[in-house]
């Protein structure tokens, strides 16, 4: 029974899917299991009885020695995780086909072997967590993508209203501090319903995408451009006063109107009406900025469309 139990222990140590090795107080290797042999390419005969640092000079010696010291001195367990230190030994993982680049990601546990109250050896187990680390990274990448998409409009790829208003709120709070002036353009495609009715919704979508592509080319470096609703768009311009914002708005109007929008057989002349507002002393919330730009937009519509309007010209 004793023999069987010993044989089982040996079987487990040799065949288990973990690296297991041990060192004594002089850092000589006492034990080196099959996993360690297979992945390091170094046989038990080559390394057992030899010094760890001499056998593996590439090991992170300062860091690893501190780990061992804490086990020897405190008789304590020590750990290392792939998230902080991806690997102890540079082993190739066993997924050369499906796997990512790089080396086997490892979680290590350092355990003291105590005899007569003294730590005589440290045994290290090394778990291959490459699979887990890949899943974890994929999950993080997916989350990042989901978060980024949550801020975007599905059709045009520019920012959506929810994100835009959040950024407006922050920029407005910054202006209240006080910070630099903040301007806003709101614009709406003229007779958009007609485009949809006469050419179909796909043509309407094409117009929205084309405008989302054209407008940023005439915006100053610092801006935030969003689809605000159906055929309505908004541009936040931090640092610009009303007069500068009107110049930008005129450039946007021209960029939309000066060339036909075309896709296959469909060619359309499209125009937009624009309203501009800028922070003024009376403003206490970003919504006031939005309402004023919106009111200016409808003034531009009333005055005949394809033009820029602002309610408080000359006040800034």
């Amino acid at each position: 029974m004793k023999d069987l139990s010993r044989a089982l222990s040996e079987l487990v140590v040799e065949r288990v899917g973990f690296g297991i090795f041990a060192i004594d107080r002089d850092f000589n290797i006492l034990m080196w299991n099959r996993f360690m042999q297979d992945y390091s390419g170094r046989s038990t005969d080559e390394v057992v009885g030899r010094n760890l640092w001499e056998s593996f000079p590439e090991l992170p010696r300062g860091w690893l020695k501190r780990k061992f010291d804490s086990v020897f001195v405190l008789g304590n367990y020590a750990f290392s995780s792939w998230e902080q230190r991806p690997f102890l030994f540079k082993f190739h993982h066993d997924r050369p086909l499906s796997g990512s680049n790089g080396y086997m990601q490892q979680d290590c546990t350092f355990m003291p072997l105590v005899e007569d109250g003294k730590v005589v050896a440290v045994c290290v187990t090394l778990a291959d967590v490459t699979e887990f680390s890949i899943l974890q990274r994929e999950r993080e990448a997916a989350l990042t993508l989901v978060r980024a998409n949550a801020d975007r409009d599905g059709l045009t790829g520019i920012f959506n209203r929810r994100y835009f208003e959040e950024e407006m709120r922050l920029a407005f709070e910054n202006w209240l501090k006080p910070g630099p002036t903040l301007s806003l353009l709101m614009f709406d495609i003229d007779h958009f319903k007609r485009v949809n009715d006469e050419h179909g919704h796909l043509a309407g979508d094409m117009v929205l995408r084309e405008i989302a592509a054209r407008v940023p080319e005439v915006l100053p470096g610092e801006h935030m451009f969003a689809r605000y609703g159906g055929e309505e768009f908004a541009v936040m311009l931090p640092g610009l006063g009303l007069n500068d914002a009107i110049v930008v708005a005129e450039n946007v109007r021209r960029a939309i109107a000066e060339d036909q929008i075309e896709n296959g057989e469909i060619r359309l002349w499209i125009t937009a009406s624009l309203g501009v507002s800028a922070t003024r002393e009376a403003f206490t919330s970003y919504e006031m900025l939005i309402n004023e730009a919106d009111a200016a937009l409808y003034a531009a519509k009333r005055q005949g469309r394809n033009q820029v309007a602002a309610l408080h010209v000359g006040s800034v």
């Binding site: 405190l74 367990y77 902080q84």
Partner: protein
């Protein structure tokens, strides 16, 4: 209903074991870190689940956000240990435990793990070896970096009735560094701890 009440004898014995344990732990830490480590007299309280936040609040004096690392320990007495570092002290901890300054967040987390593991190991081993228990530990895990103390332990996520709370705090010579270690031992493990204390008392 488990009988969790300690007799006065058991309570005294536990406090004594904890005091002696922290003495040993301090000596071990000093040897490892080559610096004097001041450990407070451990405070031990038996609490009901709902009392935990108030008890922690009372024991700890962190005004700002904290970094917290947890680790489980096991023998016939099981429990969980949490080390709570004050946010300001993380740089100091990196120098004391890591030998160099942390370069980035990853380094800082690694140092927090390292320091928590060492503090927990030194203190718990020193206490439990007097009760003839050899502990095994799970790998340290981050509860959170730079989080309010109130988020570290949330009573509605806990599943025990009564627990023994042990708190000790550390200061390191010449360094502006503070950390608290709390360990929680719940329900059945309390009965086992009382049994172990009885055995210790019988040996004296």
């Amino acid at each position: 209903m488990l009988d969790c009440e300690f007799t006065e004898e058991q309570r005294d014995a536990l406090q004594e074991v904890a005091n002696v344990g922290m003495g040993h732990a301090g000596a071990r830490l000093a040897q490892l870190l080559s610096a004097f480590v001041a450990l407070s007299v451990p405070r031990i309280r038996l609490i009901q689940r709902a009392e935990l936040p108030a008890a922690l609040d009372e024991m700890m004096s962190f005004a700002d956000n904290v970094t917290a690392v947890r680790q489980g320990f096991k023998s016939d007495i099981n429990g969980e240990a949490v080390v709570i570092f004050d946010g300001e002290g993380m740089r100091e901890i990196a120098i004391a435990f890591g030998g160099e300054e942390a370069q980035d967040e990853h380094d800082e987390t690694e140092v927090a793990y390292e320091a928590a593991n060492i503090l927990i190991g030194a203190c718990l081993a020193s206490v439990f070896e007097q009760l003839n228990c050899t502990l095994t530990y799970s790998a340290p895990r981050l509860i959170g970096r730079n989080i309010p103390l109130a988020v570290v332990v949330q009573p509605d996520t806990l599943h025990w009735g009564a627990a023994l709370l042990l708190e000790v705090n550390f200061a390191l010579e010449n360094r502006n560094f503070r950390a608290h270690l709390i360990t929680l031992t719940a329900d059945e493990s309390i009965a086992r701890l009382r049994h172990a204390l009885d055995e210790l008392l019988a040996d004296i």
